[in-house]
C-alpha cells in the first residue's frame, strides 16, 4: 500500500500557516469534555500536556518513572537548535530546514522538517519565558554554539545540561496545569496495550507499577510520547527504563513502524570497560566545538597520548573533511572512528577508542573558559573514567544513542490508526536516516508545544467521537491479554536471566546491524534473532510476584517486545539496499567510503505492518518528494 503523508498543498513556506488557518477548532468551553491521554512525559509529552492543558483539554499524563521530571530527555546535554540568526552568520528557516534534510541524508519528509524549522524560533522564545536559564553573553543576549552538520551557530544551550533545563521548563509548565486542574499525572504506570474502539484509538491499558493492578483509561485521543528504542542494543546511551513496549504494543494493534533500522550511533561516548557495564555514557557533541579528535598515525602505537608528538598524530576528521572538520555529522564521525580503530590505530586498553583532545582549546581559551562551557561534562567523565580531561585527552567511541525510526505518522503526527498521535523520538518523521545534534530537543518541544495543539484540535473538532467508557469489551479484552502476558512471564522459570538474553540480543544487533551492515550479516542476524526469540520463550527466568513492585517483570516484558521488534528492524536493514545516513551497507559505498544512496529505488519511508509473532511483516511505502531541497549527494569535505 502507498501511504499518504497528508501533506497540505501549496508552497512549502506557507503550508503550515495555511493549514492552521483552515483547521477544525474545538470551542474553549467544550475542550474540558475531551480527555487526552499522554503516554510519556519527556520533552514531547510534557510540552504536549502543558500546552493542551492550557487550552483546557482534560489531560492524563502517565510515566513509568516515579516522577515526570526524570524522563530521559533530561540527559540531553549539548543544546537545542533555533533558526534565530542572532549571530548574523547567515542562518534562516530555510537553512535550518536544508541542513536537517541534508543531515538526514534525504530520508525525512520535507514538509515536516520545514515546519520544524519554522517553529524552532518560537520554541526558544517560549523556553526563555518559562525560565530556562540559557547561556548568555556578557551583554545579556542569548549565546549560541555550533553543532555538527551546520556552518552556522544556532545552538542554544544551558551549560552541558540543556535537556535537563528544557525538560524542567516543560515539566513546570505541565505542573502549572496540574495546579490549574487540567492535567493529572499518573506516575509509575506502564502502558501495556492500546485500546481500539470503532477503528479509533480510545484508551490505554496500564499496569500500576507499585500495586501491579491493571488500570483502564478511556480518552478521545492517545498521544504516544515514549521516546526511542536504542536500548534494544542492550548497551546504549539511553536510560535503563527507555523501551519500545508502548510503541510496539501500538504496532501490534496495527500502527505501522517506519524505518526501524535508522538507529543513530553517537560518535562521542565513553568507551565500554567491561561486561558488568549497564550503559554507555554520552559526551556531548558540543565538545567537538573545541575538542580535536585524533589517533596515532602508526597502528599499534601504545605510547601515552602526551608522549606522541604532534607530527605523529592523525587528526583524521580535520584531514578528511577540511570544511566541517571535527563538526561533521554524527554518522560520518562514527564511521570514521570505527575505520581508524579497524586499522589498529585505536587507543586505550581495548583499542576501541579515539582521543578527543582539549589541549589546544585550553591553551587558546584558558582552563576557566573550558570549564565554564563544559565543566559538568568533564566532571562526569572524571567520575566514570577516573582520568582528568583537563590534563589528558578524553577517550571516546561511538555508541547507540537515538532512534530516527519510529511509528509512522502523517503531517498531523497521527499514525495510521485514527486517534493515535505519536510525538518526539517515538515517531519517525523529521530526522531521516541521521539526526543532527541539537535537533531532538527541538523536535520534541516543537511537536508538543506548537504542532499537536493544532493537529489534535483538527482531529477532535472534525470527528464524531461516540462516548466510550472503560466497561467496553475492548478494555476487557486488552486487560485479559495483558494479564495473560504477565502470568506467562511470571511463570517463566528457565535457566537464563532477562539480562543475559537481552545482552545476547544486543550483541547480535551491534555486530550485524550497527555501524556497518551487509547482506550476509543481516541474514545471519535474522536467524540469530529468531533463535533468541525462541530461547527467550523457553528459557528465560523471571523472579518475584505480580502484585507488587517487580522490576524484573517489567524488564522481562520489555525484552520480550524487543525480541519481536528486532526482527522488523533487521528486515528493514536488509530490505534497504542502499547506504544512507546511519544505515551503512558495505555493498553500497563510494570509492572514498562514503554512503551511496539509491534515490531511484529507496527515496521512500519503509513502514512495516505487524502480521503476528514469527510471521513476516508487510511492507508499505511512503514515497518521499524533494522539491524545496534538491536531492544530491551529501558532501562535508
Amino acid at each position: 500500500m502507498i501511504l499518504d503523508g497528508k501533506v497540505p498543498s501549496g508552497p512549502i513556506e506557507t503550508k503550515w500557516s495555511s493549514y492552521k488557518d483552515h483547521i477544525n477548532l474545538v470551542n474553549p468551553a467544550n475542550r474540558r469534555k475531551h480527555t487526552v491521554i499522554v503516554v510519556g512525559t519527556g520533552l514531547s509529552g510534557a510540552s504536549a500536556a502543558a500546552s493542551l492543558g492550557e487550552l483546557g483539554y482534560n489531560v492524563l499524563a502517565m510515566t513509568i518513572l516515579d516522577s515526570p521530571r526524570r524522563s530521559h530527555s533530561i540527559a540531553a546535554q549539548g543544546g537545542i537548535n533555533g533558526a534565530k540568526n542572532y549571530k548574523n552568520d547567515g542562518d534562516s528557516t530555510y537553512r535550518l530546514f536544508y541542513d536537517t534534510i541534508k543531515g538526514g541524508d534525504y530520508r525525512a519528509r520535507e514538509a515536516n522538517v520545514y515546519r520544524l524549522a519554522q517553529v524552532s524560533v518560537d520554541i526558544i522564545d517560549h523556553c526563555v519565558a518559562n525560565g530556562v536559564p540559557f547561556a548568555r553573553e556578557y551583554g545579556g543576549l542569548l549565546d549560541n554554539r555550533s553543532f555538527g552538520g551546520a556552518q552556522v551557530s544556532r545552538t542554544f544551550y544551558a551549560r552541558g545540561a540543556t535537556g535537563q533545563q528544557l525538560l524542567l521548563g516543560a515539566y513546570s509548565g505541565m505542573m502549572r496545569q496540574v495546579d490549574a486542574g487540567t492535567v493529572k499525572i499518573l506516575p509509575r504506570r506502564e502502558m501495556l496495550d492500546l485500546v481500539m474502539i470503532g477503528g479509533r484509538a480510545r484508551g490505554v491499558l496500564c499496569r500500576n507499577l507499585i500495586s501491579g493492578q491493571y488500570e483502564r483509561y478511556a480518552a478521545d485521543a492517545v498521544l504516544l510520547c515514549t521516546g526511542g528504542y536504542a536500548n534494544l542494543y542492550y548497551l546504549s546511551t539511553n536510560a535503563g527504563n527507555s523501551n519500545v513496549t508502548a510503541a510496539w504494543r501500538c504496532a501490534r494493534r496495527g500502527a505501522y513502524f517506519a524505518n526501524p533500522c535508522f538507529t543513530q550511533i553517537h560518535p562521542t561516548c565513553i568507551p565500554e570497560s567491561g561486561t558488568h557495564q549497564s550503559k554507555l555514557t554520552l559526551m556531548s557533541e558540543s565538545l567537538r566545538n573545541d575538542g580535536r579528535v585524533w589517533v596515532p598515525k602508526q597502528a599499534g602505537d601504545k605510547r601515552n597520548a602526551s608522549d606522541i608528538p604532534e607530527a605523529e598524530r592523525d587528526y583524521y576528521l580535520e584531514r578528511r573533511y577540511p570544511t566541517f572538520g571535527n563538526l561533521v555529522p554524527r554518522d560520518v564521525a562514527s564511521r570514521a572512528a570505527k575505520a581508524v580503530c579497524d586499522e589498529g590505530r585505536g587507543v586505550g586498553a581495548t583499542g576501541r577508542a579515539v582521543y578527543l583532545d582539549f589541549a589546544d582549546a585550553i591553551k587558546r581559551l584558558g582552563e576557566g573558559v573550558v570549564r565554564e562551557r563544559y565543566g559538568n561534562l568533564f566532571d562526569m567523565y572524571m567520575h566514570i573514567s577516573d582520568e582528568n580531561p583537563y590534563r589528558v585527552p578524553m577517550r571516546i567511541y561511538p555508541a547507540i544513542h537515538y532512534a530516527m525510526g519510529g511509528l509512522w505518522v502523517d503531517y498531523n503526527l497521527m499514525s495510521n490508526l485514527e486517534g493515535l498521535f505519536v510525538l518526539g523520538e517515538a515517531n519517525f518523521s523529521d530526522h531521516g536516516a541521521n539526526r543532527l545534534g541539537a535537533s531532538a530537543l527541538m523536535q520534541g518541544l516543537g511537536d508538543g508545544y506548537f504542532v499537536i495543539p493544532y493537529t489534535l484540535s483538527n482531529y477532535i473538532g472534525g470527528t464524531k467521537l461516540e462516548p466510550v467508557t472503560t466497561d467496553h469489551d475492548a478494555f476487557k479484552e486488552a486487560e485479559n491479554g495483558v494479564d495473560e502476558r504477565v502470568k506467562t512471564m511470571l511463570a517463566a522459570k528457565g535457566g537464563k536471566s532477562v539480562k543475559d538474553l537481552h545482552r545476547s540480543l544486543g550483541r547480535v544487533l551491534w555486530d550485524r546491524v550497527g555501524m556497518a551492515r551487509n547482506r550476509a550479516g543481516l541474514q545471519q542476524a535474522l536467524k540469530e534473532v529468531t533463535a533468541l526469540r525462541a530461547e527467550y520463550q523457553q528459557n528465560v527466568r523471571v523472579v518475584g510476584e505480580g502484585q507488587t513492585i517487580n522490576k524484573q517483570l517489567e524488564y522481562a516484558m520489555r525484552v520480550n517486545d524487543y525480541m519481536e521488534f528486532a526482527d522488523v528492524l533487521v528486515r528493514d536493514a536488509l530490505g534497504r539496499e542502499e547506504s544512507c545516513g546511519c544505515h551503512f551497507r558495505e555493498e553500497y559505498q563510494a570509492e572514498d567510503g562514503e554512503c551511496q544512496r539509491n534515490d531511484a529505488e529507496y527515496a521512500h519511508v519503509a513502514a512495516w505492518e505487524f502480521k503476528g509473532r514469527d510471521k513476516e511483516p508487510l511492507l508499505h511505502k511512503e514515497p518521499l518528494e524533494f522539491k524545496a531541497a534538491e536531492l544530491k549527494q551529501r558532501n562535508y569535505k
Binding site: R70, Y138, A161, G274, H276, M380
Partner: protein, 251 residues
C-alpha cells in the same frame, strides 16, 4: 583487572505496610570501574539465579542527571564522596572485604514502597504549588527582548541544577526539604521572568512543603554536603528573605 568481594547489608521491605529488615549478601567479582548501582545489578543477577526476589531500587539515566537513584550507603545519601549520585559512585571507593550498608532515603514525607524505592511524589506536589512561571504557550516575546546578565543566568542555572533526588531530605535530621524548595525559588527568583509571581510562589511552595510533612531547616548544612549537584545553602537565605518579605506584604 583485579576483583574484590564486598558484603552488602541491604534494607528489604516487601511493601509499605509490612516490616522491613537488613539482609546480608556477599557480592563477588566486583571491579573498580563498576558503579554502585551496577554492583546492585550483579547482586540482583545472583538473586535471579537463586530464584529469589530481587532488590527493588529506582535507577534510570545512570549518569547523575535524572535523580531516580538514591539510597543511603554507609549512612550517607548517595554514599561516600561529593558531587555525585549513587549511579556515579564507583566501586573504586571501596576495598576488598568492605561492608556496605544500603538503606532507602528515610523521611516521613518519602514513604518506603519496597526495599530501596520510596515515594517522592511530595516533590512534584510542591512544584505544582507555584514552582513555575505562568507563561502560556505561544504568548512569549522574542527571547532576546529581555536582557539577562551572564552572572544572573549563571546563578539561576546553579540553582536550577537540582535534580530532585531527595538526598537533601534524607541527610537532614529534620527531614527538611528546604534546600529543594529554595533551589526552585531562587532559580525563578533570579530571573526577570520570575518576578511577577515571586511572592505568591514562595508562600505557596513553603505551605505545601509543610503540608507534606517535611521538617524545618536544621541549619546544619548536611543537605548541601550530600547534594549531587552541590546546590548551595545560600539559596535557603534567599527563600527565607523572600518568604518573610512576602508574608509581611501579605502575599
Amino acid at each position: 583487572m583485579s576483583t574484590m568481594t564486598v558484603k552488602v547489608r541491604v534494607w528489604r521491605q516487601p511493601s509499605p505496610d509490612k516490616e522491613g529488615r537488613l539482609v546480608d549478601y556477599t557480592v563477588g567479582n566486583v571491579v573498580a570501574d563498576m558503579s554502585f548501582v551496577e554492583m546492585l545489578d550483579v547482586l540482583n543477577e545472583q538473586l535471579v539465579a537463586a530464584g529469589e526476589d530481587t532488590v527493588a531500587f529506582d535507577s534510570d539515566c545512570r549518569e547523575g542527571i535524572c535523580g531516580s537513584c538514591g539510597c543511603v550507603v554507609n549512612g550517607v545519601p548517595h554514599g561516600p564522596g561529593t558531587g555525585k549520585t549513587a549511579c556515579q559512585l564507583f566501586m573504586r571507593a571501596f576495598t576488598d572485604g568492605d561492608t556496605l550498608v544500603v538503606e532507602p532515603f528515610r523521611a516521613k514525607a518519602f514513604p518506603v514502597l519496597k526495599d530501596l524505592c520510596v515515594d517522592r511524589g511530595a516533590f512534584d506536589r510542591i512544584i505544582s504549588a507555584g514552582g513555575y512561571i505562568s507563561a502560556t504557550t505561544g504568548s512569549a516575546p522574542d527571547g532576546n527582548q529581555m536582557l539577562i546578565g551572564k552572572d544572573v543566568a549563571e546563578k539561576a542555572f546553579d540553582a536550577a541544577a537540582c535534580i530532585g533526588c531527595g538526598a537533601c531530605v534524607a541527610a537532614c535530621k529534620n527531614a527538611s526539604a528546604v534546600l529543594f524548595v529554595s533551589a526552585k525559588v531562587a532559580h525563578l527568583g533570579y530571573l526577570p521572568q520570575g518576578q511577577p509571581e515571586r511572592s505568591r510562589r514562595v508562600v505557596r511552595m513553603v505551605e505545601q512543603m509543610e503540608k507534606e510533612g517535611f521538617g524545618a531547616c536544621s541549619n546544619e548544612g548536611e543537605c548541601e554536603a550530600v547534594c549531587p549537584k552541590e546546590v548551595s545553602t545560600l539559596h535557603i537565605q534567599i527563600l527565607q528573605r523572600d518568604y518573610v518579605r512576602a508574608v509581611l506584604r501579605g502575599a
